[in-house]
């Protein structure tokens, strides 16, 4: 079922929704971009529908909505532990098909990998609803079609945002009560991007030939990659994190255990006490990341990790093309196999 809103009417719908939900969407932070006189676009709370940035891709992904950059696990005083107050807020996240498919990866890791789900993730995740932003034309660097993540049905509502009107589909009947009776009903089913400018040939091998790990194709990244970690922090599917304890400056007996995002490209990721570490050169970190995205993860969970959102390529300061690297890898594998 669908509805057609004027922009004003859609803003009114927002007003109703914000009574029950915190709405998270790509938002513009004017003049807060990396370079001066540029803007930063990232997920944050929006109060008005006009604040949703839908003509540009956000630098950071919506995984922030389900997986905070910093999360306190518990507070401690001497021998007592206290978990943060359970939050009750409901969230409505505006995101694109690739990102909806992308969030299935943090879901898998946090809820299904290992014997026990992560309770912090589970508690937040169950309070998150999705509004799909229809994508009819892809951005630079997108290759969702190659990753088969251009289509999804896993959303509660879907919107087509245009300059003068908004079309809305509701799949979850809970949201019907927010629709005013004077809003005209129409037939609306969102469309999906069926072709991207960037095409990636993902190698579909069951066993990675051993030669690939040692292949010289990784060597160029030893000097090109600066191990900054942007490809991981902007990626919707990266879930690595590190747990640390801190104590408070003015009371060293009280403190907290918390976790923050981590990146397999950044120094220290594999450091063990005693000085042993692995993947010291950035070329092997590139190999590790790329194989995780398009080989290891699929071996374990049956689908590729990468959803082709292209943010890693958008944001690498060294112009390292991850999608280009997959194409190279595919060639290398075919040469190695034949």
């Amino acid at each position: 079922m669908g509805w057609k809103f004027t922009n004003t009417a859609f803003n009114d719908l927002f007003a109703g929704l914000t009574e029950d939900y915190i709405i998270l969407a790509p938002k513009r932070f004017v003049n807060r971009g990396r370079f001066s006189d540029t803007d930063l676009i990232r997920y944050d709370e929006v109060k008005k529908s006009d604040d949703i940035i839908w003509k540009e891709k956000s630098t950071f992904s919506p995984k922030e909505a389900v997986f905070p950059v910093t999360q306190t696990l518990f507070y401690f005083t001497e021998e007592a532990f206290r978990e943060p107050q359970p939050e009750e807020k409901q969230y409505l996240v505006f995101l694109r098909p690739c990102d909806i498919n992308g969030i299935r990866r943090p879901d898998t890791i946090n809820l299904k990998n290992g014997p026990e789900p992560d309770s912090y993730y589970a508690n937040l995740r169950k309070r998150v609803r999705f509004v799909m932003i229809e994508c009819t034309e892809s951005f630079d660097n997108c290759f969702c079609v190659s990753m088969k993540s251009n289509i999804t049905s896993d959303y509660d509502m879907a919107v087509r945002l245009t300059d003068d009107k908004v079309l809305l589909e509701i799949k979850n009947d809970d949201f019907l009560r927010y629709i005013r009776s004077d809003i005209p009903k129409i037939e609306f089913r969102p469309e999906f991007v069926l072709e991207n400018k960037i095409k990636v040939n993902v190698p579909e091998v069951d066993e990675m030939p051993a030669g690939v790990y040692e292949h010289e194709m990784w060597n160029e990244y030893k000097s090109r990659c600066i191990a900054c970690g942007r490809c991981n922090t902007t990626c919707v599917t990266c879930t690595c994190h590190t747990t640390n304890d801190i104590f408070y400056d003015d009371n060293s007996l009280a403190g907290e255990r918390r976790r923050t995002w981590a990146s397999c490209h950044v120094d220290g990721f594999t450091d063990m006490a005693g000085g042993i570490s692995f993947r010291k050169d950035n070329g092997s970190r590139m190999r590790f990341k790329v194989l995780h995205k398009i080989y290891d993860y699929r071996k374990r969970f049956g689908e590729h990790m990468c959803v082709g959102c292209g943010r890693c390529d958008d944001n690498c300061p060294e112009y390292i093309s991850y999608s280009g690297c997959i194409n190279t890898l595919n060639k290398v594998i075919r040469e190695t196999v034949s």
């Binding site: 696990l73 518990f74 401690f76 021998e79 532990f81 978990e83 359970p86 890791i109 946090n110 990998n113 290992g114 014997p115 026990e116 789900p117 992560d118 309770s119 912090y120 589970a122 508690n123 051993a210 790990y213 879930t239 690595c240 994190h241 590190t242 747990t243 640390n244 304890d245 801190i246 104590f247 060293s252 007996l253 403190g255 255990r257 976790r259 981590a262 397999c264 990721f269 594999t270 450091d271 063990m272 006490a273 005693g274 000085g275 042993i276 570490s277 692995f278 993947r279 092997s284 590790f288 194989l291 995780h292 290891d296 993860y297 071996k299 374990r300």
Partner: protein, 265 residues
């Protein structure tokens, strides 16, 4: 609220035994028995967490041998008897002793790698009938670095035991000097599927010792290794321990070598 596996539980330290200048064994009250080869996430709140494998299992206690090399382990070494350590776990797969029933078992351990195999040796010391034969091959850097010296002496009475040091430092009166790899040839092998070899130690030691055994005809499936990696969550979430499609904290730390050698960092 879901149950939260990240909250550690307090456990009392009921024994401290200094092994070397760097390592001490802490006996910790524990009412459930873990599987040998598993590990716990041990923490002192405000300092942090670290993965520690089990170096002994008894009625109502476990041993953990901790090397004083990091922030948390250093803090643990300042603790006294009766103080509290916080633990969550046990994690990982551990060794399956069923598989060794009636087998010829060889254990090759380098340095602090001896800690996780100590409960196995101890078990067979008390249950010798469960195994055909047990050979021990232990290597340490220097005589000062030898751990569980008394245990080793005792084990020697029942099992063939080779104890070597890389560098005698002029104070070593044992028979063997040199890298552990050099003594692999002194182990008498049994038929292919009658024997298993456990190799534990630093990554380089594992690699070269395994190579020696393979050179002598032991097949990769009969070699078992335990892999140490950076761990943060122990629950398959944080990604630090991942190699290939495996999470060491879930699928390991114990692997058959035919799987392990394919896991490239």
């Amino acid at each position: 609220m879901n149950k939260n596996p990240l909250i550690p539980k307090p456990h009392k330290i009921i024994g401290i035994n200094r092994e070397t200048d760097l390592e001490s064994t802490f006996r910790i009250e524990m009412d459930t028995a873990p599987v040998m080869g598993q590990f716990y996430m041990v923490s002192i709140p405000r300092i942090g967490e670290m993965p520690i494998s089990i170096s002994g299992i008894g009625q109502g206690w476990i041993d953990m041998t901790i090397r004083n090399v990091g922030k948390v382990s250093q803090a643990v070494h300042f603790l006294d008897m009766e103080s509290t350590l916080f633990l969550r776990g046990p994690y990982g797969n551990g060794f399956c002793l069923e598989e060794f029933k009636g087998q010829h078992l060889v254990i090759a351990a380098g340095g602090s790698g001896i800690a996780p195999v100590r409960p196995i040796v101890e078990y067979y010391y008390n249950n010798q009938h469960e195994i055909d034969k047990l050979d021990l091959l232990f290597g340490f850097k220097t005589p000062d670095a030898i751990m569980f010296g008394k245990d080793i002496k005792r084990w020697k009475e029942r099992f063939k035991t080779i104890l070597t040091v890389d560098d005698a430092c002029g104070i070593w009166d044992g028979e063997c000097v040199g890298l552990i790899t050099g003594y692999v040839k002194d182990i008498k092998l049994s038929e292919y599927d009658r024997m298993d070899v456990i190799i534990i130690g630093p990554p380089v030691m594992i690699k070269f010792t395994a190579a020696e055994f393979i050179k002598r005809g032991v097949s990769e499936e009969r070699i078992i290794v335990s892999m140490e990696r950076r761990m943060s969550c122990g629950l398959g979430k944080c990604g630090h321990c991942k190699i290939g499609e495996h999470y060491i904290c879930l699928d390991g730390p114990v692997f058959r070598y035919n799987d392990a050698f394919k896991m490239i960092d």
